[in-house]
């Protein structure tokens, strides 16, 4: 179980944030290494030759790639505390389904919201809100998707909250107005130290998005 843990990451990455939260929830000490994605380190290229992407979790010198796979790995290795997946197979399947839904929908739709304009942006906003509403439905009256405590879906989704401000500014809309329950859930998550420590400041993210827009030549 013990052994050096290194995380190759990039501060605004929602995917990196997931792994940071999981490590924090389990109280695991690790070395955080910031990557410059325009100048990737040899270590990154060596540890993730297939995708050459962050985050990469390196445990005892061996790499685990893909954020949700890392979260499951962390849950399985450090299985004596703060479980992220429930023990019941059916409940686990539901958690995996919704984490996968977040992966399939939220990143791409969110990206479209800040990258596009006009009708394309309106469609993206509409579908983005629809997806969040489906997630709200799944949350129901629970404090967290994981029930009483943070679970797999909470960890999968909460990083996007740090990007909501940027989406709202770029898309000129209010996510809270459409999905108040989800925002209440997000604020609840932010009360947790593991989450608060792992998410960047929303203004910094917005600045970063504006910088990206310049780089991509998006108005």
């Amino acid at each position: 179980m013990e052994g050096a843990v290194v995380l190759l990451d990039f501060w605004p990455s929602m995917f990196g944030m997931r792994t940071r939260i999981a490590l924090a929830e389990k109280g695991i000490k690790y070395e955080y290494r910031e990557e410059d994605l325009r100048n990737k380190s040899d270590l990154l290229l060596q540890m993730n030759p297939v995708h050459k992407k962050i985050p990469v979790l390196i445990h005892n010198g061996k790499p685990v790639c893909e954020s949700l796979i890392q979260v499951q790995y962390i849950d399985e290795v450090w299985n004596d505390r703060a479980p992220l997946l429930p023990s019941d197979p059916y409940k686990r399947a539901i958690a995996r389904f919704w984490a996968d839904f977040v992966d399939k929908k939220i990143y791409d739709l969110g990206s479209k919201v800040w990258k596009t304009k006009g009708e394309e942006q309106e469609t993206a906003k509409k579908e983005f809100i629809e997806s969040l509403k489906l997630l709200e439905g799944e949350l129901g009256d629970k404090a967290y998707f994981g029930g009483e405590n943070l679970g797999f879906v909470d960890v999968a989704l909460i990083p996007f909250y740090s990007w909501f401000y940027a989406y709202e500014k770029c898309g000129n809309f209010s996510i809270e107005a459409e999905c108040p329950k989800l925002i209440a859930w997000a604020k609840r998550c932010m009360q947790k130290e593991s989450v608060a420590k792992s998410l960047p400041d929303k203004e910094k993210v917005y600045e970063f998005v504006l910088h990206l827009k310049k780089v991509y030549g998006i108005e």
């Binding site: 030759p49 297939v50 445990h59 061996k62 685990v64 790639c65 893909e66 796979i69 890392q70 499951q72 790995y73 399985e76 290795v77 197979p89 059916y90 686990r92 399947a93 995996r96 389904f97 996968d100 839904f101 489906l134």
Partner: protein, 234 residues
């Protein structure tokens, strides 16, 4: 022996279970679930859907995507093939699809994801596109296959000695590559990938897998028709 015998108490448990699988006759995603159930010796009822006229039950069991496959176990639905495979593995412990070691589990999941996010979109692009777009898809495909070939070094299956999760996810290649090659006239997996070709053969002929393939001529007709949709005769 390719599989260990199913214990009597597991059989008794199966009798009390109700397992239904919603799929179509041809879907490779549904076939993965068939394989998992067969490998574990689980009895189930198969419901083949007509996707142009989806049943009310399917829409009720999978309201989010309205797709197949859906596994319904004692009335409770599970959707998305990878989620279903892990559910099956965790519910019925015989012939595990995933190893015990967390690092090796992560490895299987990584390659399963690689198949879904890299191989499948690329093969569909090769099938559906023309000209420069197809060339680009082919180039991406070749790059992807190099990684797959590398992963198979020293292993009989992706799961090592026996079929595992990643093998079931890659399994579509064992019959669909041949069908695509026949329909498109393209060589899609060539002799540069001897390990992959050997794996495809091994998987295709595996005693648990070999009788599950949908009828070849029916598949050719289906994929030929689809191909013509994307490449209408001028």
């Amino acid at each position: 022996m390719y599989i260990t015998p199913v214990k009597q108490e597991d059989l008794a448990n199966n009798m009390a279970e109700e397992v239904k699988l919603f799929k179509t006759w041809s879907t490779p995603f549904g076939l993965r679930v068939v394989w998992a159930l067969k490998l574990k010796g689980i009895e189930y009822e198969s419901i083949d859907e007509d996707l142009s006229n989806k049943s009310a039950l399917l829409l009720q069991y999978n309201p989010v995507y309205k797709k197949v496959p859906v596994l319904v176990h004692n009335g409770k639905p599970v959707s998305e093939s990878l989620v279903i495979l892990e559910y099956i593995d965790e519910t019925w412990n015989q012939n595990p699809l995933l190893p015990e070691d967390p690092f090796e589990r992560a490895r299987q999941r990584f390659w399963a994801k690689f198949n879904e996010e890299k191989l499948l979109p690329t093969i569909m692009a090769i099938f559906t596109k023309e000209g420069k777009d197809r060339e680009e898809a082919m180039a991406a495909w070749v790059e992807n296959l190099k990684f797959v070939e590398e992963e198979l070094k020293g292993k009989k299956f992706f799961g090592s000695e026996k079929i595992g999760l990643a093998d079931l996810v890659f399994g579509w290649m064992a019959n669909l590559i041949g069908i695509f090659e026949e329909v498109t006239g393209l060589k899609i997996v060539d002799e540069r990938y001897p390990l992959l070709l050997a794996w495809m053969q091994e998987f295709y002929e595996h005693p648990v897998i070999k009788d599950t393939w949908p009828p070849h001529d029916k598949m050719i007709i289906k994929w030929q028709a689809l191909y013509e949709n994307y490449h209408p005769a001028k």
